[in-house]
């Protein structure tokens, strides 16, 4: 297969073309990115359980967002669309069965009391990760957007592509499953 590569001049030209091809200017993108990059990156990492994959998906999410040929009413609408892209990408990559233990969860802490507290928090997070991984990808996304991001049912329905009317019931079921899994995890 022949690889098509760009010369330096073409790379410079890429910026002019980007201004024409992308749906927003570089300045506007920078502002929007500063507001959304961290939540999206955390969301991707938690949904995939893989930091490297999350980095790749972050780039892909913003690329698809920039190439999207559509008008947005406001920043919330824009942000919902961004999470919708991220959700779709996560669902396309949902192959990894279990989430890795985050390295930071087992980081060392200075004194014994703080160590015990940190260990307790790390164990809680680990239980949460394990329980989340046993949910369906859509359930994970719904719970995260509802209770970690604080989105309304309408916003979640729009982001994950389901009807708002069925959102409450789906969220209720997902929440009950998570609580049950957390109880099981705590008992075991």
């Amino acid at each position: 297969m022949r690889e098509i590569t760009l010369t330096d001049m073409e790379r410079l030209g890429a910026f002019d073309e980007a201004e024409r091809t992308f749906q927003m200017t570089e300045e506007a993108f920078r502002t929007f990115y500063e507001l959304t990059a961290r939540p999206v990156r955390v969301y991707l990492a938690r949904m995939t359980g893989d930091d490297r994959l999350a980095d790749d998906l972050l780039q892909e999410t913003y690329y698809r967002f920039l190439r999207a040929n559509r008008a947005f009413d406001n920043d919330d609408h824009r942000r919902n669309y961004l999470f919708r892209i991220a959700t779709n990408l996560v669902h396309d990559h949902r192959r990894k069965p279990f989430m890795e233990v985050p390295a930071a969860a087992i980081a060392e802490v200075p004194d014994a009391a703080a160590a015990a507290q940190a260990a307790e928090r790390a164990a809680r997070r680990l239980d949460l990760h394990r329980a989340m991984q046993r949910l369906k990808p859509r359930e994970r996304s719904m719970l995260w957007l509802a209770y970690a991001q604080g989105w309304s049912h309408e916003e979640i329905a729009s982001a994950i592509g389901v009807k708002t009317a069925s959102m409450k019931a789906m969220l209720h079921r997902a929440r009950q499953r998570l609580v049950a899994l957390l109880k099981t995890g705590a008992q075991s």
Binding site: L6, E17, F29, E34, R41, R46, L128, Y147
Partner: protein, 171 residues
């Protein structure tokens, strides 16, 4: 209100996300959550997820906006270059198909004549009408060379366009 929700669930979520739950928020909300199964569940799940978000945000490192923009711009440029090259790929594919078609058409035209040629050769052998050994050898040599040239020509005509097609195809 359905069996799935409680009118105060968003208040509980907001209190947790705002960092007010349970000590710095409305006492009536905490009292309500104590006996409302939905709100109790929501508080439990929200607290755990929020703790996870807070922890993850400390460690998370995202690339600079300029880097994301630059990569996207270069990729957009690459994709448009590839899109521009696509007609060439199609042209090669069509050329290859035409060459194969012409070759097959030629073969089809020659095919009906083969039995009569074979017949003629058989009769010549039977009737002892073969020319002298020198002439036969020269003919055989010429035929072998012609066959070789024919095979090479056919190979060039068929394989070259196919090779070009695969070399320039995108995927």
């Amino acid at each position: 209100m359905s069996a799935y929700d409680c009118p105060r669930e968003q208040d509980v979520v907001n209190a947790v996300l705002g960092g007010h739950w349970p000590d710095r928020c409305n006492e009536s909300l905490v009292a309500h959550a104590a006996h409302c199964v939905t709100c109790r569940e929501i508080a439990q799940v929200s607290v755990l997820l929020q703790e996870d978000v807070d922890h993850a945000r400390i460690d998370v490192i995202v690339p600079a906006a300029g880097q994301i923009w630059w990569r996207a711009a270069v990729r957009a440029r690459l994709e448009s270059t590839q899109a521009a090259a696509r007609p060439m790929t199609w042209m090669h594919a069509i050329t290859g198909a035409i060459v194969v078609g012409v070759f097959l058409a030629g073969l089809t035209a020659v095919w009906p004549m083969l039995p009569s040629v074979l017949n003629m050769i058989t009769r010549a052998v039977n009737l002892d009408m073969l020319p002298s050994p020198e002439v036969t050898n020269a003919l055989a040599g010429g035929l072998a060379m012609a066959a070789g040239v024919g095979v090479v020509a056919a190979a060039i005509l068929i394989i070259a366009p196919l090779a070009l097609y695969f070399a320039f195809s995108d995927d």
